[in-house]
């Protein structure tokens, strides 16, 4: 169904063509939906939909392959960067995007993301950091904050037992193969705008063949954090942003000229 503007009015907002016409299964207030929309808009604006091959993860966004109106495949837990490597190496003219949660990217798939970045793999990763394992019902993630209560850290993450959360953008930025690594957040409109700009830049980096690009997005999980969606956005700002600063961690010279 294409949305049409009433007589005499201009249509200023509709579903991006890169998003399929269907409902998602995301919880109300979850920012996975916003991230999908941003990626969809970015692909539309860059005219990349027809060329894109999406690699979906295991996590709440496992069905991302349904939600984008692009060719897509579904990787094993954490292996999206390896699968994307196989896709990109055999289809170098396609735009290859992985969409991964923090358990997927920063725990089980740490080796795959580090080596994809190290090789300068010409792919773009959208990294959803919600500091929890959403899909399996709210266990501790590698990004869970110190003291944060989860189903598997019921008294709060004890760094003596579980160590400290990993800052993946900072880690990946140390690798020469990485061309563009930034962290953004989706907790308010201003930050959402910045997030979209970053996604567009990351896709342009891939198009120009400059190397690996990743946009980390601080994201909410009201369901498993056990708070209201609006409180969850506030929680991102108050608790996550201080530990995960919203910065550009790697922007090589060539990216600035894009």
């Amino acid at each position: 169904m294409t949305i049409q503007a009433p007589e005499g009015m201009e249509l200023i907002y509709s579903r991006p063509e890169s998003l399929a016409e269907m409902h998602t299964h995301y919880c109300p207030g979850c920012t996975h939906g916003i991230a999908h929309r941003l990626l969809g808009e970015a692909l539309d604006e860059l005219g990349m939909r027809e060329r894109t091959i999406l690699v979906a993860p295991v996590g709440c966004s496992v069905f991302a392959y349904n939600y984008f109106d692009t060719d897509a495949c579904e990787a094993a837990h954490g292996r999206a960067p390896a699968m994307a490597t196989g896709v990109k190496r055999t289809r170098p003219d396609n735009i290859v995007v992985t969409y991964q949660g923090d358990g997927d990217l920063a725990a089980i798939g740490t080796a795959e993301i580090i080596h994809a970045a190290a090789r300068g793999e010409q792919i773009t990763t959208i990294f959803i950091n919600n500091a929890i394992y959403g899909m399996t019902g709210g266990q501790m993630a590698p990004t869970t904050l110190p003291g944060q209560k989860t189903r598997s850290s019921p008294d709060g993450r004890d760094v003596e037992i579980a160590g400290f959360p990993i800052r993946m953008s900072e880690v990946l930025a140390t690798l020469p193969g990485a061309a563009y690594i930034v962290r953004r957040s989706m907790h308010d409109v201003k930050n959402i705008r910045k997030a979209k700009k970053a996604i567009i830049t990351a896709l342009k980096v891939q198009e120009a063949g400059l190397g690996f690009s990743m946009v980390e997005l601080l994201s909410s999980c009201p369901t498993n954090w056990g708070i209201q969606p609006n409180e969850a956005l506030q929680w991102i700002e108050e608790h996550m942003v201080p530990y995960y600063p919203l910065e550009d961690y790697k922007v090589i010279e060539a990216v600035k000229n894009l």
Binding site: A20, R49, E50, R51, T52, I53, V55, A56, V62, Y65, N66, F68, D69, T70, D71, A72, C73, E74, A75, A76, R79, A82, M83, A84, T85, G86, V87, K88, R89, T90, R91, N94, A111, E112, I114, H115
Partner: protein, 369 residues
């Protein structure tokens, strides 16, 4: 170890001395291999080394992955785009690949995987062995599936089966494993390579290429509802029935009048042949059946032979794995004995001959038909 420069440069069809691993690599390349992903492990490494040069020279994809886990998932991605793709490893590496192999099976993708088997369990050793029989035929990953498994017994057969592997994989949209023991990978013998075939640029109608001027395509192994999952499971089972019907392969010798049938595959089958020849010279009516496909197992032929044979002797380089399939195939009609060496020790013809003589004696004394 330097890449064998003669191979690939010398494009003639004449026989040349070839090491098994290099022969498989070169045969795959000539069969139109578009992408290779792998990780070094003995006794398979020459295969990867050979392709590291040849694939790049031919402008094709070669990538040394960070692990076998990554390698198989790269294969998964490349296969999703419809490319002819292969990986190779040896036993411990195949264990790591099982996750990806299961996803590949669940996505019905044609891929070729080479397992140059070594001694195990654990790190084991780098000697030739056949201890992965169960792993490749039975448990190549979680869930309900079997790959097609080809077991070469010579360098020439390794070459021929490599070409066949791609054809079978694409014909059935099914995974094919070439289960070669370390001996096949490491030995050199004269063999003939196939002619160079160009890459097939035509993509199948399920391949991910970008939804340009057509609806989107999805490669996934998820079937959420029980009904959907079972329908898919049934689809795999139906295909396996078809594969069992069409693809059982074996070689046989002296089976017309044999009292004792010796069954062995790969290197064990080859050495068993020498033992069978020696037994014949001694006047014993011994025949040989060498399965070339371990899945589908040539049970139709074995069951047929059981009708007029008095016993079987299975020879393997393990503690006895294929012997279970032989027992299933003969269905209790005749006794099945076993002779195996473990630890990566290759049995000698004389040892097998002794086992043949023992079994033969028992058969002719106790169970005359």
């Amino acid at each position: 170890m330097p890449v064998d420069k003669d191979v690939g440069v010398n494009d003639t069809m004449a026989k040349q001395m070839l090491k098994g691993n290099i022969a498989i690599a070169e045969a795959a390349l000539r069969a139109g291999l578009e992408a290779y992903f792998g990780y070094p492990i003995t006794p398979q490494t020459e295969l990867l080394e050979h392709l590291s040069k040849r694939m790049v020279d031919e402008g094709r994809v070669f990538l040394q992955a960070e692990s076998e886990v990554a390698a198989i998932n790269m294969v998964y991605g490349a296969a999703s785009t419809g490319a002819r793709v292969m990986t190779s490893s040896s036993s411990p590496g195949i264990s790591l690949m099982q996750e990806g192999m299961s996803y590949i099976a669940g996505s019905e993708l044609p891929v070729v995987i080479v397992d140059v088997m070594r001694g195990g369990p654990g790190l084991g050793n780098i000697l030739p062995a056949q201890g992965d029989y169960f792993q490749v035929t039975r448990s190549a990953g979680h869930g309900d599936f079997h790959p097609i498994v080809l077991a070469p017994a010579s360098v020439q057969e390794a070459i021929d089966f490599t070409v066949l592997a791609f054809d079978l994989a694409e014909k059935y949209r099914h995974m094919v494993i070439i289960a070669a023991d370390g001996q096949i990978g490491q030995m050199m013998e004269p063999a003939e390579l196939p002619e160079m075939k160009p890459i097939n640029k035509v993509r199948p109608d399920w391949a991910l290429t970008g939804a340009n001027g057509r609806g989107k395509r999805i490669i996934t192994s998820i079937y959420l509802s029980g009904e959907e999952m079972e329908t898919f499971n049934q689809k795999i089972q139906d295909r396996l029935v078809e594969i069992k019907l069409n693809e059982q392969r074996w070689a046989e010798l002296y089976t017309d009048d044999c009292v004792l049938l010796v069954i062995g595959y790969g290197t064990a089958g080859r050495i068993a042949r020498s033992a069978v020849e020696a037994a014949r010279e001694k006047g014993l009516k011994v025949g040989l059946l060498r399965p070339q496909t371990l899945y589908p197992f040539p049970d139709d032929r074995i069951s047929e032979l059981a009708d007029y044979t008095e016993g079987c002797l299975v020879v393997e380089m393990n503690a006895g794995q294929m012997v279970d399939d032989v027992r299933l195939a003969v269905g209790g009609q005749i006794p099945v004995s076993f002779y195996g060496r473990m630890g990566g020790i290759v049995p000698l013809p004389d040892e097998i001959l002794e086992a043949i003589e023992d079994t033969y004696e028992k058969l002719t004394i106790h169970t005359p038909k």
